[in-house]
């Protein structure tokens, strides 16, 4: 690998050198005026710089965030990460783990650990995704018989039989924990929901619904979390809460460049990771798309017959 890299790098260098040489020779042969305009253009481009072109592979970080390692360097281990990625791809060959986000509605079937040969199916809204590598997990929430139920699944759990996305969408927030304190109608989804199919090539829609919270007591201090998906938070606050919210604000945190840096995986590391898994993931996506198309065609036939 390194050999190839160095080779390509050398080639690149050579090409750069030749280009430079050409440009120089051109400039020296042209009259002075032309040179000046060239220099001006150079300056203009420098002042009005555009962002550097991004690697298209990097877009997969939204779809498969669990392939990126934990950003904490104390917990990094390149060999373990590599083995885990290979295992994750193996698991993805066995069952179709679809693209979904926090706010999507999923149906998960797992084999029942307490009854041999039987399965459990649970439908709910994904309220969080966390963890990385083989330990990635997500939580589904639904209201069953007026009782809020949450089930946490591990994404690569071998007892999971199918994961089906019933409605692919995002919400306004990254975590939907506030559904626990919201009115039950916002986290109630029928068990026999039909999957909604998005037309191909559309971006994942963002559901702008704003939930209404139940009166206090709450599980968390939602008013301090700057939530976009809650509409009636101000109704339940006292003057004391508003004052404390102001005191607790951390407006400097968005300027803390190193805090952001320590939370993410830099582009160079990501390029390596996505270069390793991109091709296989893309193949899987293509094959699942094909099967989905087949299913769409066959469904009305069965109804007719």
């Amino acid at each position: 690998m390194s050999l190839v890299f160095s080779k390509s790098f050398d080639l690149f260098k050579a090409a750069k050198w030749i280009l430079r040489k050409d440009i120089r020779s051109c400039l020296s042969s042209l009259p002075e005026k032309v040179e000046k305009t060239n220099a001006d253009e150079d300056k203009m481009t420098r002042i009005g710089r555009r962002p550097r072109s991004q690697n298209p592979m990097l877009e997969y970080r939204h779809i498969y965030p669990e392939f990126l390692p934990d950003p904490n360097p104390n917990w990094r281990n390149s060999l373990r990460e590599k083995l885990e990625r290979a295992d994750m791809l193996e698991r993805r060959k066995q069952i179709d783990i679809p693209e979904f986000y926090v706010g999507s509605i999923l149906a998960v079937t797992i084999s029942d650990p307490h009854a041999q040969g039987k399965t459990n199916r649970f439908v709910g809204i994904c309220i969080e995704r966390k963890g990385c590598g083989l330990r990635a997990e997500f939580t589904l929430r639904n209201v069953v018989d007026h009782q809020g139920v949450e089930v946490r699944y591990e994404l690569y759990d071998p007892t999971i039989q199918t994961i089906q996305v019933l409605r692919l969408e995002k919400r306004l927030d990254d975590k939907l924990y506030y559904l626990r304190d919201a009115l039950p109608e916002y986290s109630t989804f029928p068990v026999d929901m039909d999957p909604e199919i998005l037309p191909e090539g559309t971006t994942v829609p963002v559901n702008p619904v704003q939930v209404k919270l139940k009166p206090r007591p709450w599980l968390e201090r939602w008013e301090r979390q700057e939530l976009k998906g809650v509409s009636n938070i101000e109704e339940h606050l006292k003057e004391k809460d508003r004052v404390r919210r102001e005191l607790r604000k951390t407006p400097w945190e968005k300027y803390d460049l190193m805090k952001q840096y320590r939370k993410t995986v830099p582009i160079e590391d990501q390029n390596e990771i996505w270069g390793e898994v991109y091709n296989q993931l893309q193949q899987m996506r293509m094959s699942t798309k094909k099967t989905a198309r087949k299913r769409v065609i066959t469904a009305p036939k069965s109804q007719l017959g």
Partner: protein, 196 residues
């Protein structure tokens, strides 16, 4: 095991980043710490070389590197980057310096944008590590004494002399060899003439 934040893309720093930040004992808390570092980063961009305590310098170095790499990645038409520069540089003319002087300077560099060297501690002062933090490509004379290239250094003078002697000895040997071969050839020719 936490999931990496994927909303923002950052380029990798070329310096060693410790896993945790230093808190820089500060009564105003994290905000005060950031204010301290703002002053240092502003000073670094303004003077290009500053001497300060090691810990504060190391922290400020990371922030300065991040600021420059953001400026290089996004340019000055990117609003969040501009806000960031506005926050970190307390003197607003330095924002122009960042985008018009430092970005072209470091655009194609393959190394870190700053350099930090350990500075001598005062003999009878508090026992605190000092450091010199500087931007690369600054106009000041180098702090590192690169004596290996200095021809006037005693070792280099001695080495040069030794090389010169060695070369003279070799030349003398070669000259002797040539003389010998010439003599032998002349002897041979005379022998041949005698035979004839």
């Amino acid at each position: 095991m936490n999931q990496a934040d994927v909303t923002k893309l950052v380029s990798k720093l070329r310096i060693k980043v410790p896993p945790k930040h230093r808190r820089l004992s500060c009564p105003e808390g994290p905000e005060g710490r950031l204010n301290k570092l703002r002053k240092t980063v502003t000073g670094l961009i303004k003077y290009e070389r500053i001497e300060l305590n090691y810990y504060r310098g190391d922290e400020a170095r990371q922030y300065a590197e991040r600021l420059i790499s953001e400026a290089i990645n996004h340019g000055d038409c990117h609003k969040p980057t501009m806000e960031m520069a506005d926050f970190w540089l307390l003197e607003k003319e330095l924002v122009h310096k960042l985008f018009k002087v430092l970005v072209p300077r470091f655009e194609n560099s393959n190394s870190a944008y700053t350099r930090m060297l350990k500075a001598p501690k005062p003999a009878y002062g508090r026992y605190i590590d000092k450091a010199v933090l500087e931007l690369r490509g600054n106009p000041y004379p180098s702090l590192q004494n690169k004596q290996t290239n200095n021809r006037q250094l005693l070792q280099n003078i001695l080495l040069d002399a030794a090389k010169y002697d060695y070369r003279q000895a070799k030349y003398a040997e070669m000259a002797e060899k040539i003389e010998k071969s010439e003599e032998s050839s002349s002897v041979k020719t005379t022998n041949i003439e005698h035979n004839n």
